[in-house]
């Protein structure tokens, strides 16, 4: 039986850098030119299959970008195994904001948290204001994963999450493996998930 892992992931970053779009691309392989702003937070899940046959299920908390929602963020990164901090390559200020988030994570989040810095809107590379060198250098200094993505074209999206998935099992606390069934009701308990029950049903079952 292949190993199954389950990780909590939090998305952080300035408003309108494309956090929700990134998740939408990752989870549904879709892109909306018009995507509403996120208020509070949204929760989604996605499972990634790795080459070694193991699977990683991400429980994703997609947070609101506006400064005033900042005080809610700890609730979402508190027990996160990993964080994707997003900036917009056409907005230098958004990288500054990303640095602020990363500092906060380094201070406040679980020390084992794996952080990926993600430069989004690669499709707008013609209007690029943040160089790859600058961001990459910063990421290396801080020991972060780094990548550039375009939620619009899909470029780089899968790879950033897959890289996280690959890195996580080695660094994170012992992952949950598959259990016999749903765990009921106990506070904080999370069910092990039977990933096999739905893998052969095709896609049309819930294409809504």
């Amino acid at each position: 039986m292949a190993k199954q892992y389950q990780f909590k992931l939090v998305l952080l970053g300035e408003s309108a850098v494309g956090k929700s779009s990134l998740v939408l691309r990752f989870v549904k392989d879709q892109f909306d030119d018009y995507r509403e702003s996120t208020i509070g937070a949204a929760f989604l899940t996605q499972t990634v299959a790795l080459d070694d046959g193991s699977t990683v299920k991400f429980e994703i908390w997609d947070t609101a970008g506006q400064e005033r929602y900042k005080s809610l963020a700890p609730m979402y990164y508190r027990n996160a195994n990993c964080a994707v901090v997003v900036y917009d390559i056409t907005q230098p200020a958004s990288l500054e904001k990303a640095r602020t988030w990363i500092r906060e994570l380094q201070r406040q989040a679980d020390p084992s948290i794996v952080i990926a810095l993600c430069g989004n809107k690669l499709d707008l590379a013609a209007r690029r204001q943040v160089t790859q060198e600058e961001a990459q250098k910063y990421a290396e200094e801080e020991g972060l994963m780094w990548g550039e993505t375009s939620a619009k074209s899909g470029e780089g999206v899968a790879s950033i999450f897959t890289s996280l998935a690959k890195k996580l099992p080695q660094t994170a606390p012992p992952p949950q493996t598959r259990g016999g069934g749903a765990v009921r009701g106990a506070p904080g308990a999370r069910a092990a998930v039977d990933l096999n029950s739905n893998t052969n049903g095709g896609q049309d079952g819930c294409n809504c």
Binding site: L44, L195, S197, C206, C208
Partner: protein
Amino acid sequence: MEEKAAENLKEKYDDFNLGDGDVSDAVRRRDWSRLRVLSTRAGGFGEERNSAWPFLLHAQQKTSGPRDSDSDRAHTKLRKRRKKIASVEGVRGGHFEKGYERDALRSSSAEEHPDERQIKLDTDRSFVLYPNVSVEDHRDREELQTELNGLITTIFRRHTKLNYFQGYHDVISVLFLTLSEDQKLPCADKMSLHRLRDAMGKGLEPLIGLLQILKYLLRLADPEYAVLLERNTPLPYFALSNLLTLFSHDIPTLPLIQHIFDFLLSRPPIAVVYLAAAFTLARKNEATKMEEEGEEGMLHSLLSNLPELSDGDEHQNDEELKIEASDDGRILKADILVEKQKHALEDEVTVKVEECNYNGPGKRADVLSENGLTVHDTIEDGGSESKDQRKIVESPDSSDLQPSAAVPSNEVPQEMPFEQKLSLGTETPPATTAMQSTELSDLPSSGFEAPSESETNSRPASSLSHVRPPKLSLPYLLEHADILFALYPPSQPSLHISSIIGPQSVILTWSEDPRDMASDAEAEAMMTHPELVTLEFVDLDETPVGEDPDAHSGRRHRKLRKRYTKHFGVSLDKKTVLTGAVVALGVAIAVYSMRAKGGHSGMDITRTQKGLRRVGKWITAIFIRD
């Protein structure tokens, strides 16, 4: 010319609804209780919102008042210039080029508000779900966005102490799409200053305060369910955007959110908490099921995405409801509510509802037939679309958007069989869509925010073959909210409102009588005292659900007083500290004393609000003079 045509159009619609003059009649008589009753019937105020909302928002006589002189003139001037340009360039009236809009705003005398960048970011992604006419036409949408941006920017330049919050644009977009051109600004102004103000400070504290009240309300309404919810989330954060945006961020169609605004605007600001509770309680079965499946987070997903709603009467066809067909639909529904949700309220609900002076028997049937009549006179667009194509009430001078009459309770036939099967009275089917999603990579709408919901909603009936949660009746939910208000009015000590809500909160300063409200300037000045909007509340989470929290009240009050003084000592001088302490006491007295009065008349919203407001006014007087 264009305005004239729009006016004709409006008159035409008025004619179509001869039997539907109740709302304007009630507005003329300034009859708030009647409006509250009308707001809960299927379709709400329908086409009469353009007269009802300005009245409810106290924005009625504002259009040419001397108070607004400067900025109103600037706004009007700006709009006139836009229109001129628009007509020259062949752009449809009322809209204008984006670049021009920016330039015009810049050249206006008002200074830029610090939040304008964020406002732009959000208005640039507004109108995602509606109006549907624009979905395929990006240019249409951009024009709307630009106009919305202009409206919001005008408000913030006018009231520089207000801070923008994400979601504010959702609220204003509902007013924007509903009201006539001359009403938009005055209504949005009043809405911001006297209803949304708490959320327009720097922080989230007022919102957290509402979440706490919601938590306590859920504990009262359904202790067992409250335990489940609190096990998963310390506060009902899933309702955050409901409370913050008055549901406008979450409701996928314009007619539905308009109806919700009918309900909320005819009630004091605290009503939104009761409505959020009604929504939450209605999903108990799904939530319980989901928790059993053991997915942390999925509960948030479930509850933060509202259920599919109907605004009609199809549930009256439901077998179960027919069994006990009574003269008064509300009592019947209250009974079903009790049965279905296994509330501990059984007897009380029925008794209280009888006391509520709701609309009389037979009203619903009238509404239905009125609406049936109206359907034929509705301007259709994109005819083959789904149920959410119930026509939008457009303001007369945005007639270029294919305005159409509201047909609030026009149910789409294709949905009927399915909905009948799964209407309110039936068992809630398992929330399988969401759970499938956790394992398939293909997450369905329930895992997403509103846009995906609209996707679901605009899907043709064929996609309904998936098992989905039942569609809930909005009028039912609204009435449930009223029932909750009757059972657990704000004076209810276990809600802790007097310890959470400060004297300068809209909860306390709002009034049905505009003469009793703070002026616009006073309201704006209140932004400088956030500590008087939300008190520093000591959450009694150590009190287990079910235990009488009052047993601890002595301890709590001591604690509270201590924290309160400490907090004030930091930021305010001695005089204010003293005043603050008096204020806190005053609020407590006012709120608690209402309990005695309201004891056997729980629905007396007006009286409740009066007590709250009296204190608020008194406090306002103290602090504005400071």
